[in-house]
Each structure stands twice: as structure tokens, then as C-alpha cells.
């Protein structure tokens, strides 16, 4: 495959990865700020001299492609005026980066005066001087209000820091000290990369290193194409929604796979809005590619080679590819993440159509944004800006063989580097007091394999100075559930933000509330994008979305349901209503008889056929292709037919879609017991498709009422 000997190649591959690892360590060491060190909102990567991604390291995967674009932009802008020891800053989302607070540090790597490649990292800095503190700006209506925006400045010139420039930047933020440290850490991380890279070239020679870099990209492409060829051709659909000021923005996706390449088509996305959830072209590319890397590229080096197998269609002027100067500061957790959610579902459905790759399918986890920033005067009277990062633990989507991870996986279930700080470290630094932080019961999407549980927490201001705390909420996933299930599994819970009236003085008279139901007092729902004052008479409640489930809940092992009940992850009532498992309280044992009966009834009520028509049941014919967990294709005579893989009932002619032929039940989200905390909105429904003969649920769509069926096509 490569002209290099395979041993040297493997040694150098490992060494290059180690360089990115060392960059990440340096970022965390030097910065020392919570968002870098404890939450790990960072990314580090190495690039070829033309900006092609070579080795991507730890961090948020959305940024890998954007950093490559940033390198290319610097080449274009500075041309021959790029010298050894230069470091550049890019954070303009219309040029490369995703939103302004994510500062990219882009540095050329030279060897004996010749450009060999680039290293890049990003850090979400503490503040960027926008209309709202902390980088996410729900108040902004155009990008000019979203803070400092650089489409390329030289912060270090030939190894010399331009202190005046750094001072100018930090001076325009609310947290000059911390932002200064963040940027210093970024310079330090790239210096480490440059030094290590040069050592490698010194040792192995320019041509060997160039060969390895070429080989890495070539190998990844070959591996990716080989994997794609093993998967069936077809097209798969998914849709995500984001609520903005009462409107629902729609992000539909059709992913078409043919041979060894994939096309992601976002045509039909809502027009751009004048709120910051839009994403630019690069935010959109980051969402698609970040999801693709995470779901499709196990064991393959994430680099440019993989991208050669992809193409993307995203109409301009939409929420997924907005025109300048639309605001985009919430895009990383907004449209970019929502695109990733759609991509995860579409790709997973493709993987499920292949028996060999079924194990890689992943329901969406934590399909929402619950990003909180707060600022004000702390216990000691000093002004601060910071985040509430409880939601960053996320929740994992279920897999085809096991449950999703509870409270882990970050947003979309694939931001695996994300962590949440301890409550004690937050209370030490900031004027807040937690009433509780726990797993949220019934938050994981019901399924044969349950979606990962999310968590919820309640916080009150505590010993703050000044006039209260400014609270900035940047969210979505409150009305529509963003964590889609797979193969008849239900979506995970919606997010929820509530402000209660109440204060510590009153609460401590009895017991402090320790769960949602125990918080009393008048309450109001906080809209998903919100800026307001948080003071001693308020209680903030935050719940983030649970992971999507996999398969039919009534096929879940009753023992597993009981175990969930004992862990307070599923309520006794949900065990009965959703999983068909009857638990005798207080003995906490399964009532086998009632369970069997109930499960039978739940499935039987969906049977629409009056009698079993044995003529249309085809058990003896071997399946030709799997279409999904519950549907396969067989050939009867000269005709191909869709068949229920459970009862072998023939669903339809394979030239038509089976979804058009089977019973469909629409349940408004607000009335569905399947979904914890769904808002009162009647716009969204759970659309359940079931087998007319055996009653098994074959697919569940979480869609707007007027959304056409999500019809997948698998070639056979």
C-alpha cells in the first residue's frame, strides 16, 4: 500500500498521534481554566502543508474540518508572507471557525525554512466580548454583536509574541486574565507540536515524513472506501428540529450511499433566522464530518482521506448554511449539533442494513442543547463569567446490542471528551448552591436496549455580590425530542428549563428539594434561548435530553427493567406502561403472569388483520437482504417483497415502500407516555409503524405533524 516499510510507518503514525496528545496536555496545563481542563472544550490536530487533515487528536470533532479550512485560509491570505515561528488566530465563522469564542491557533511547521505542514488547536475562551457574556449570544441578531472576529491575524511573528495585539484582544473581553491564559496555552501547545515535528523530520528525513503523511491519508481513504463498499447502497432519511422563538426550524437530511462514497443532502432545511442557532458553511461541514468520523470510522485514522469519500449539499441562506451577517454564536451546540443528530440516525440506519456492521449503529444521545452561562459578582465581589456544565456529561444512545451509557457521551452522545466539574468546585468558585444533581428517571429512550439516562439539577444563587447573576441560556430540544431512537426504539426525553420562585430561607424550614417533583412554588418555563436575571428568589431547574432507545420496549428483558426501576432510572409506572413489565411493590419483584399478559395485549392491540393470512406469510424463503432490524427482503417467484422479520408476514412489494402499507399510529408528543416531560406543544408526534400481522412496532419517527414519512431506500 505504501512505499515505506510498514514498521517505520507504524512507528511514525504512533509518534504523530503522540504529538497531538502532547498538544492537548499542554493546553490543559497552561490554561488551567475550567472549560479547558475540566470540561475539555478543545481540539488539537496536525495538517499537511496544503491544509489537508493528517492526524486529528482529542476534543470536539466538529472542529477538525474547520481547522483545516483555517489553515487554507491563512495560506490564501498571507501567501508568501508566512514565516517560521509565526502563529495565526482565526475565529471568523464565515471564514473557517464555527463561532467566535472558539479561537483557532494556526501555526505553520517549517523545517530548514521550508513549510512542511500545520498544527492547529482551538479553545473555547472564557469570553469574547459579545453582547452576552461567555460566547453564546441569544440576544444577537447579527454576527457583529457576537464579539471579536478575526479572519486571520498574526499573533506571534517569527517567534515573538505581539503583546500589544494580545493585550488589545483580551482588553475587549470581560475576562482579560483568563482569555490571555487561554491564548497563551494555545501558543504553547503549537510550539510543542512544532518542536516535536521538527525532531521527527531531523531523525527520519523530509521524504520519509512526507511519505508517511501521504500514506496516512491514502490509507484512511482506502479503508473508508473498503468499508463503504461492504455496506448496501441506498438512501436514508432523518430530521431534527430546533425551537427558536416559538418557531420550529427543520433540519432534514437524506444520505445517499453509492459504491464507495456518500452524499449528505440537507436540502429542505429552514431558511436562516435572525437568532444565533444558524451555522455557517463550516459549522455545517463540521457537523456532518464530526458525526461521520464518530460513527463510521472506528479504527481508521481520522483525516482528509475519509473526507474524499463524502460530498455535501446544503443550500445557501438556510439555517444550515447561512449568509453573512447572520448570527451564529450558538451554532456549535445549535445547528451544527442538530445536523450531527440527523447524520447519526441516517448513518446508523445504513449500518443496520448490513449484518456485518450492525454493531456500529448508535441511536442519538443527548439530542438537545442546554448550554448555560452565568456572570456577575462572585463571593469575593469579583466580576466573573463562567458556565454551568452539568449537561456536558450528556447521555449515550442505545446500540443494537446494549443500553446507551447513562450520563456520558456529551452532546449527541459522541462528544466523548466532555466532562462536568464537581459540584464542590463550582460552588467554591461561583456564587451558586446546588439543591440536587441526579439521574433523571424515565429520561432514557424506551427500547429493547434503553437509551442512556440523562440527568437534571437545580441551582440557586448563593452569597453573590451585587445585583444578582446574569443567566444566559442557549438551548433547543425542549418541544421536539432530539435523540431519535432506532429500530422501533423511542426517543430520549426532551430537555427542560424551568425557573421556580422560592428561596433558601423558606426551603430550609423543611427539607431541601431533592428532585424535580419536590420543588414547589410558582414556576415558569424558560424559553430555550433566554437572557435574564437570576437572584436569591429563584430556583433554576435544568434537565438535558436522554439517549434514544433501540428496538421495542416490550421486548426488553423484564429483569433489566426491574434493575432500572431499582436504580431509579425507570419508574414503576413506566415499567408497566412503556415496557409492559408489572412490578409488585413493595416486594419489588416481577409479576411474571401479569407481565406476559400485558405484553401480549400491548402488542396484540396493534394487530389490524382480522385473521392470519398464511398465504402471505413466507417463513421458508431465505432472506435476501436485511433492510432493518425488523424488515428484510425476499424473492417470491420473480418478485421481491418486504417481509416482517418477526412473523414473516409479507408487508409489500419491494418496489413500493413498506411504510406506506402498514398501520401507522400518530401520538402527539404531549400525550405520549413514552416521552418524559414533552412540552404541551401539539406540533410533534411519535409516528409508530407496526406489523399488521404480529403487531410488532417496526419503526418510530419523532416528527412534526406535517412531516412526510421518512422513507429509506435500500437497494436489493
Amino acid at each position: 500500500m505504501t512505499s515505506l516499510d510498514p514498521v517505520t510507518f507504524e512507528i511514525l503514525r504512533h509518534r504523530l498521534w503522540q504529538i497531538t496528545d502532547e498538544m492537548a496536555v499542554t493546553l490543559k496545563k497552561v490554561s488551567g481554566s475550567p472549560s479547558v481542563t475540566e470540561v475539555q472544550d478543545i481540539n488539537v490536530s496536525l495538517f499537511r502543508k496544503n491544509g489537508d487533515i493528517m492526524t486529528s487528536g482529542w476534543g470536539i470533532p466538529w472542529h477538525i474540518t474547520s481547522a483545516g479550512a483555517a489553515c487554507r485560509h491563512i495560506v490564501k491570505k498571507f501567501g508568501n508572507d508566512i514565516a517560521e515561528g509565526d502563529d495565526f488566530i482565526v475565529n471568523d465563522p464565515y471564514v473557517a471557525a464555527i463561532h467566535c469564542p472558539d479561537i483557532y491557533m494556526i501555526s505553520p511547521i517549517h523545517y530548514r525554512g521550508k513549510l512542511m505542514g500545520w498544527c492547529a488547536n482551538f479553545v473555547h475562551v472564557t469570553d469574547i466580548g459579545a453582547i452576552d457574556p461567555g460566547g453564546f449570544s441569544p440576544s444577537a441578531t447579527e454576527v457583529f454583536q457576537e464579539g471579536l472576529r478575526f479572519e486571520g491575524i498574526r499573533i506571534v511573528e517569527k517567534g515573538r509574541l505581539r503583546q500589544d495585539l494580545l493585550d488589545a484582544i483580551t482588553h475587549m473581553t470581560r475576562e482579560p486574565g483568563l482569555v490571555g491564559l487561554d491564548i497563551t496555552s494555545q501558543i504553547a501547545a503549537n510550539n510543542v507540536a512544532k518542536m516535536r515535528f521538527r525532531e521527527l523530520v531531523e531523525r527520519y528525513g523530509v521524504s520519509t515524513i512526507n511519505n508517511v503523511m501521504d500514506g496516512l491519508i491514502r490509507n484512511s481513504e482506502a479503508q473508508m472506501r473498503a468499508k463503504l463498499r461492504e455496506l448496501p447502497d441506498g438512501s436514508w432519511k432523518a430530521v431534527s428540529y430546533m425551537e427558536v422563538e416559538g418557531e420550529n426550524c427543520r433540519i432534514p437530511l437524506t444520505m445517499t450511499k453509492k459504491g464507495d462514497s456518500c452524499v449528505f443532502d440537507l436540502t429542505g432545511a429552514s431558511p436562516q433566522i435572525n437568532r444565533a442557532l444558524n451555522c455557517t458553511y463550516w459549522g455545517m461541514v463540521g457537523g456532518v464530518c464530526g458525526a461521520f468520523f464518530s460513527i463510521m470510522c472506528e479504527g481508521i485514522s481520522w483525516n482528509e482521506g475519509i473526507l474524499k469519500c463524502l460530498s455535501i449539499i446544503a443550500p445557501k441562506g438556510t439555517i444550515v448554511n447561512c449568509n453573512f451577517p447572520a448570527p451564529v454564536s450558538i451554532s456549535t451546540v445549535g445547528a451544527t449539533a442538530a445536523i450531527a443528530c440527523s447524520c447519526i440516525t441516517a448513518m446508523s440506519k445504513m449500518l443496520l442494513a448490513s449484518e456485518g456492521h450492525k454493531g456500529d449503529a448508535f441511536a442519538v444521545g443527548c439530542g438537545c442543547a442546554a448550554t448555560m452561562r452565568h456572570s456577575g459578582k462572585n463571593q469575593e465581589g469579583h466580576y466573573y463569567v463562567s458556565g454551568l456544565w452539568d449537561h456536558s456529561v450528556g447521555s449515550g444512545g442505545a446500540k443494537s446490542f446494549e443500553d446507551g451509557l447513562d450520563t456520558s457521551g456529551g452532546q449527541c452522545g459522541i462528544l466523548t471528551s466532555m466532562r462536568s466539574p464537581n459540584i464542590e468546585t463550582t460552588e467554591l468558585r461561583f456564587p451558586l448552591l446546588y439543591l440536587f444533581r441526579r439521574h433523571c428517571p424515565d429520561s432514557g429512550g424506551p427500547g429493547k436496549f434503553r437509551g442512556g439516562a440523562s440527568g437534571d439539577c437545580a441551582v440557586i444563587p448563593y452569597s453573590y455580590g451585587g445585583d444578582g447573576i446574569k443567566l444566559i441560556v442557549s438551548g433547543w430540544g425542549v418541544d421536539a425530542a432530539g435523540s431519535a431512537g432506532l429500530s422501533g426504539g423511542y426517543p430520549g426525553s426532551c430537555a427542560k428549563f424551568v425557573m421556580f420562585e422560592g428561596n433558601l430561607r423558606e426551603m430550609r424550614k423543611s427539607r431541601l428539594p431533592a428532585e424535580f417533583a419536590e420543588i414547589s412554588g410558582p414556576s415558569s418555563i424558560i424559553p430555550p434561548q433566554y437572557v435574564g436575571v437570576f437572584d436569591e428568589n429563584k430556583i433554576l431547574y435544568v434537565r438535558w435530553a436522554g439517549g434514544g432507545g433501540y428496538g421495542n420496549p416490550i421486548e426488553r428483558e423484564p429483569k433489566a427493567v426491574l434493575a432500572d426501576v431499582k436504580k431509579y432510572l425507570v419508574s414503576v409506572q413506566s415499567a408497566r406502561d412503556l415496557y409492559g413489565v408489572v412490578i409488585d411493590v413493595p416486594k419489588m419483584t416481577i409479576n411474571e403472569e401479569k407481565t406476559q399478559l400485558l405484553r401480549h395485549r400491548l402488542q396484540a392491540k396493534r394487530i389490524t388483520l382480522q385473521e392470519t393470512r398464511s398465504a402471505t406469510t413466507m417463513s421458508r424463503v431465505a432472506k435476501q437482504r436485511v433492510v432493518s432490524e425488523h424488515v428484510d427482503v425476499i424473492t417470491v417467484g420473480s418478485k421481491k417483497q418486504y417481509r416482517c422479520s418477526n412473523c414473516h408476514f409479507l408487508l409489500s412489494d419491494a418496489r413500493k415502500d413498506w411504510k406506506l402499507k402498514v398501520p401507522v399510529r400518530d401520538v402527539p408528543l404531549s400525550r405520549s407516555r413514552m416521552l418524559l416531560g414533552a412540552a404541551d406543544s401539539v406540533q410533534f408526534i411519535l409516528r409508530e409503524f407496526s406489523c399488521p400481522s404480529c403487531g410488532r412496532i417496526m419503526d418510530v419517527e419523532m416528527v412534526a405533524r406535517d412531516e412526510p414519512f421518512l422513507i429509506d431506500k435500500v437497494s436489493h
Binding site: 510498514p6 488551567g32 456500529d360 456529561v393 466523548t416 466532562r419 464542590e424 440527568g455 430550609r508 436504580k567
Partner: protein, 659 residues
């Protein structure tokens, strides 16, 4: 253990025990219980509303894989199985704030109800971890009293005792580990002590801890989490002791066994302690030597990647069962040990001193069919590729550990031990540009040797957040209280004043930043404002050294976070016997030479083979050479010189440019 002692010593056992003045025991009871899932059922009391802390784990999930493989496989993430089931955790209505002020007082009635809910016949142990208990332990102590009165047989672990530090998740995880291990460990250790004294032992028994020191068995029984990973820790302690004797201050201690390669770095004679230690995915705040490991060992499996046709080693391991193919125990995938055999580094007739005959035929066939043929190279080249990739992975780990601390690996001496370490260390040193390698005489029993050379060490911590400049009186008072307790503890264990050493330090941080640093405090009973100023200055210097120039945000202010006291009770130590160096000629130890492969450039080279047992101190040899010991094999490469030193350590040095 008694059984193996008596097997080794026979009828002399009682005699030896009677005459013993020191008995140190490095126990793996904690790790074994965790690995086999056989910990005791324990309960946990926490602040109401935070019962899921142990399960949320701050979002952490472990990968079974590491490095790039982990990044590209998000679907393979798992959380460690919970130590305590959710049913056995109860919240109690109480709340303390970050200053230790009681926001909601705890009612005994509530605490009793919580205890009643978890107490049952199967619960042998209960942990208590309340928010902010390390600042104000009052509520935890009340619960302890209640437990002792109402459930006298149940063991109690308070988080404010076992891990008095900020961070409720890590503190609760440590508390849970201790609560779950305490019954198992105490049964094991008390039985051991009884048997030892039945057999004549008169001195106290010391248990080695994860920080490398030892504590009396009575204390270890209540604090089993402290003994986690004490084996590898003792290996590092022994290495550091040996380094001290030899006058070597910068050491890379490398231990390569069948499945893992473990490295710890000693800088300026100081052992480094882990900042965020974990065991099998569980966080723990117990002081522990910083030992990094990767899954590279003799059992690591070599394979060819589909599509790209690249040679890979690991992360899968054949372990010890079925083990490498050459063990003939059913392994069928070529491993690093198989490669070592094919290259002639290992002798099929003299592996483990001849205790195990290796199957060269099986290893050759597998290496040929699975690696060499697909790569279109010969078996020796294939085996050498496996050897080099493994060496590179080990060197990458060492490079990271040293350069991350701003040090160059060239400034270190490599100490190599463990079964597979000495085979690879000379190539590893070459790769890293390290000029000197030492294979300790005790290479196989480095851990046991470490146990025998350790002192009794108690670590104390007390959190008191004090903005700097802080009140001198308060600092002195805080220290005085801990030091008095420490001295009292050691005295009660039989140490006299002259054998007690007290080291005090402050944990300091910049207010808005996350990192905390431990800064030693002058060795004076009463500190002055001037002393403290020097401590603060030292902090700023240490911070910049550890985290890089310009990494401090001084404007945010500094504060003291923790008061730390390390109390050492000096134990008698075995002395290193130093032999006289004899002649350089080592020919008396020569065995039959064989051909050994040293890479495509040199090919097969006729190589001298020595028997370690027959070497005398002072003997030297030029590479290439191989020295076979009953437990490991040492490879001396071309351009290197081997020598047995006065302590019977084997020393490899490089002549000229060793790259």
C-alpha cells in the same frame, strides 16, 4: 502466604519469624477483589439529592482501548460497573456550604431513617460521603457515632477521613472503594497477622501502601484503598532507594511484564505522585505514586490491518493464558515474546532458567503465515518489526512522561525490571538516546525489595481555604493540630522521637485556575511571615516550572487550599552489600554462543551468551551479547557495553554516539 513462606523456609520458618525485626507485606487483596468482582456489599450515605454522584462519574467513561484507537471508537466506551448498588445508597437531609457553614442542620432522626433503609444482614460496611465534609466533618462524624451505637458490627468509612479533599465524585468513589474493600481486606489481613504470631512473629506487621510507604496492619485494615497498587509502587520505591545508594537522581523506572508496560519517573531524587489516580476506572484520591501504563507486554498480539496491510502490535494481548504461541498453551496469534524468541533474544531451552521449554516451531510458523507472508518479508524481519514497534510504543510513553515535565529523556538513567523489560531496555534506551541502563540485581523481586526498604508513612490532609497573604497564626495553628496528631500516631506505633520525621507542605493554587501545587514548608515548628513569603514565591516558581512560562494568572489572587503533613517513622533497613570489583574478563560465564538478529542492516550476528549467575562484580563485555538470568534475559546491543557492578546490578552503557 504463610503456606508459601513455609514452603520456602521449611522447618526454619518459625525460627526466622521469631528472629524477624521487621515484617512488611505488600498485599494485592484489594486489586484482586476488584478484578474478580468479589468486593463486599456496602452501603453509602450521602447528602440528599446527590445519591447518583457515584454513577454519573462526572460523565467519565473508560475505553477498553487507549490512544488513537479510543478516539476513533466512541461506541466502545463503558462505565466501570458500580461498586455500590443504587439501592444501598441513601440521602440524608443536610447541607454544608463551601466555607463549612451549616446551611441545613442534620437531624439524627433523618440520619437514623437513612441508616435503617440500607442496613441489612448483607451489608458489612457503610461509607459516608457528604458534600463539603472535608471542610466541616461534623455531620459525617455524627453518622459515624450513630452507626457505632446502633450497628456495632458494621465497618464505617468516612470520606472526611479517607479522602479529605475537594471534589465530591472522586471523594465518594474513594469512600466507596474503601467501604467495599474493608471487610475483605480486614478478614485477609487479620488472618495473616494471627497466623504469623501463631508461628512466632514478635514484631509488628507493616502493610505497603500505594504511596510507597508502609503503615501498621491495624491501620491498613481500616484503610484498604491505600494499599491499592502497592506492588508497582514498592517497585518504584526500591528503584529510588537503589538510585540514592548509587547517586543517581533522575530515573525512569520501567516495568514490563506480560500484559503491561509501567513507567514512573523520578526527578531530582523525588518520586512523583499521581494527580488524578484511578484503579480499573474508579477514581481515588489516596496518595499514590504516579505510574503510567500502556498495554504493551510480552503477550501483545501482532497483526496485519485489513486494507492497508500495515503491521500493528496490540492493543489486544494473549496475556499469560493462552499466552504467546511459543508457550505451547494454545495461543495461536504471534506475540512480542514470540518475536523475541525468533530473534534469538530468548533461548527456547533456557527460558525462566530452563523451567519452561519454548516452542520455536509453532512461533515460526505463525510469524511466517500471519505476518511475514502478507508483508512479503522473511520471518526475522517480521519479528524484528514487531520488536521495533513495541519498543517505539514504550519509548513514546516515556517521551511523553519526561517531555511533559519539561525534561529530556537523555538526562535520565533507565532502570528496567519485570520479566520482559530487560529484553527491550537496551533498544528502548537507544531509541530515546538514554546513555545508561540498569537492570537491578533484584529485578524480579523489585517490589518485595521495595517493601523491605520502606518506612512507615502516614499522610494527613486538612482543607482550609485561606486567601494569600493568610494569617500566620492560623497557618501555624492548622499545622500544629495535624502535627500533634501525626506524632501521637507514630508514638503509639512505637516510634521514638528520633525516628520520626515530619514533612509539612501547603497545597496552593491561583484562584480562577484549576491546578493545585504542593509546596514544601520550611522545617520549623513556628512559621514566620517571612517564611510564608518564601513559600508563596516558591509556589509561583514551581507553577511556572510545571505548567510553562506565563501560565499563571496572578491577578486572580492565590489561595491556600490544603494543609498536608507526611509523617515518617523510620524502620530498620537492609543494607546494600557492596562487593569488591574483580577482573573485567567475563569469559567464565560464557555459554554456547548463538546467532541473534539485530535488524536488517546487521542481520544475524554471532553473539556471546552469558549466564548471569556465573558473572562476578566487575566483569564486563561488549555488545552484542546476551545475559541469561533465571528470570529474565538481558540484551546488550552493538556499541553497548555490559557490566556487573558492585551491587550485582547489570549496567549497560553506550560507547560513543549511541543513536
Amino acid at each position: 502466604m504463610i503456606r508459601s513462606l513455609s514452603a520456602a523456609l521449611g522447618p526454619r520458618m518459625k525460627d526466622v519469624l521469631k528472629k524477624s525485626t521487621l515484617f512488611c507485606h505488600g498485599t494485592t487483596v484489594a486489586e484482586n477483589a476488584l478484578l474478580t468482582g468479589k468486593w463486599s456489599r456496602a452501603g453509602m450515605i450521602t447528602t440528599r439529592g446527590f445519591e447518583d454522584t457515584l454513577f454519573i462519574m462526572r460523565g467519565r467513561a473508560e475505553f477498553s482501548l487507549s490512544g488513537q484507537t479510543a478516539l476513533t471508537s466512541p461506541i466502545r466506551r463503558r462505565k466501570a460497573p458500580p461498586l455500590i448498588s443504587r439501592n444501598d445508597i441513601q440521602g440524608v437531609n443536610e447541607r454544608i456550604d463551601h466555607k463549612g457553614r451549616i446551611v441545613v442542620p442534620m437531624k439524627s432522626k433523618d440520619a437514623n431513617t437513612a441508616l435503617e433503609r440500607i442496613a441489612n444482614d448483607e451489608i458489612e460496611s457503610i461509607g459516608v460521603c457528604l458534600l463539603w465534609s472535608f471542610v466541616n466533618p461534623k455531620h459525617e462524624e455524627v453518622i459515624k457515632k450513630l452507626l457505632e451505637t446502633r450497628y456495632p458490627g458494621v465497618m464505617v468509612t468516612l470520606s472526611s477521613d479517607v479522602a479529605p479533599q475537594i471534589g465530591e465524585y472522586e471523594r465518594m468513589s474513594t469512600t466507596a472503594l474503601n467501604a467495599c474493600l474493608a471487610p475483605v481486606a480486614s478478614r485477609h489481613l487479620l488472618k495473616l497477622q494471627r497466623k504469623l504470631s501463631d508461628n512466632g512473629l514478635r514484631c509488628g506487621v507493616q502493610i505497603v501502601e500505594g504511596h510507597g510507604g508502609a503503615i501498621p496492619i491495624q491501620k491498613a485494615v481500616a484503610n484498604p484503598v491505600g494499599a491499592v497498587e502497592s506492588g508497582p509502587a514498592a517497585g518504584v520505591t526500591a528503584t529510588s532507594q537503589l538510585g540514592q545508594v548509587m547517586g543517581i537522581r533522575n530515573i525512569i523506572a520501567a516495568d514490563m511484564g506480560g500484559t503491561t508496560f509501567k513507567v514512573s519517573v523520578i526527578i531530582d531524587g523525588g518520586i512523583r505522585y499521581a494527580t488524578d489516580p484511578t484503579i480499573l476506572g474508579y477514581s481515588m484520591l489516596t496518595p499514590k505514586i504516579d505510574i503510567m501504563s500502556i498495554g504493551a507486554g510480552g503477550g501483545s498480539i501482532a497483526w496485519i490491518e485489513d486494507v492497508t496491510g500495515l503491521l500493528k502490535v496490540g492493543p489486544l494481548s494473549a496475556g499469560s493464558k493462552p499466552g504467546p504461541i511459543c508457550y505451547g498453551l494454545g495461543g495461536n496469534k504471534p506475540t512480542v515474546t514470540d518475536a523475541d524468541l525468533l530473534l534469538g533474544y530468548l533461548d527456547e531451552e533456557y527460558f525462566l532458567g530452563g523451567k519452561m521449554k519454548l516452542r520455536r516451531d509453532l512461533a515460526t510458523k505463525a510469524m511466517r503465515d500471519q505476518i511475514a507472508r502478507p508483508l512479503k518479508i522473511n520471518e526475522a524481519e517480521a519479528a524484528y518489526g514487531v520488536f521495533m514497534i513495541t519498543t517505539a510504543q514504550m519509548s513514546d510513553l516515556i517521551r511523553n512522561l519526561t517531555v511533559e515535565r519539561g525534561r529530556n529523556p537523555r538526562d535520565f538513567v533507565l532502570f528496567a525490571y519485570g520479566g520482559a523489560g530487560p529484553v527491550h531496555c537496551s533498544a528502548l534506551a537507544q531509541e530515546l538516546g538514554i546513555g545508561k541502563v540498569i537492570i537491578p540485581a533484584m529485578a524480579s523481586v523489585q517490589g518485595a525489595f521495595g517493601a523491605a526498604t520502606s518506612d512507615v508513612v502516614h499522610e494527613y490532609g486538612h482543607t482550609d481555604f485561606l486567601a494569600i497573604p493568610a494569617d500566620v497564626q492560623r497557618i501555624n495553628d492548622d499545622f500544629k493540630e495535624i502535627v500533634n496528631k501525626a506524632i501521637g500516631d507514630l508514638k503509639s506505633e512505637g516510634f521514638s522521637h528520633s525516628d520520626i520525621n515530619i514533612a509539612r507542605s501547603l497545597e496552593i493554587r491561583y484562584k480562577r485556575q484549576v491546578h493545585q501545587l504542593i509546596v514544601p514548608v520550611p522545617d520549623k515548628l513556628v512559621l514566620t511571615a517571612k517564611d510564608l513569603r518564601s513559600v508563596y514565591k516558591r509556589f509561583a516558581a514551581l507553577y511556572e516550572e510545571a505548567y510553562g512560562k506565563g501560565s499563571a494568572y496572578e491577578e486572580a489572587g492565590t489561595e491556600i487550599v490544603n494543609f498536608r503533613v507526611r509523617a515518617t517513622g523510620k524502620l530498620k533497613k537492609p543494607s546494600f552489600s557492596k562487593a569488591k570489583l574483580g577482573h573485567k574478563n567475563s569469559s567464565q560465564a560464557l555459554r554456547k554462543p548463538r546467532r541473534v538478529y539485530f535488524g536488517p542492516e546487521d542481520g544475524w550476528v554471532g553473539t556471546d551468551i552469558f549466564t548471569w549467575d556465573d558473572l562476578d562484580p566487575g566483569n564486563q563485555m561488549l555488545g552484542p551479547a546476551i545475559v541469561e538470568t533465571p528470570i529474565t534475559t538481558i540484551v546488550v546491543r552493538q556499541g553497548q557495553r555490559g557490566m556487573l557492578d558492585a551491587f550485582r546490578n547489570f549496567v549497560i552503557t553506550f560507547d560513543g554516539d549511541h543513536r
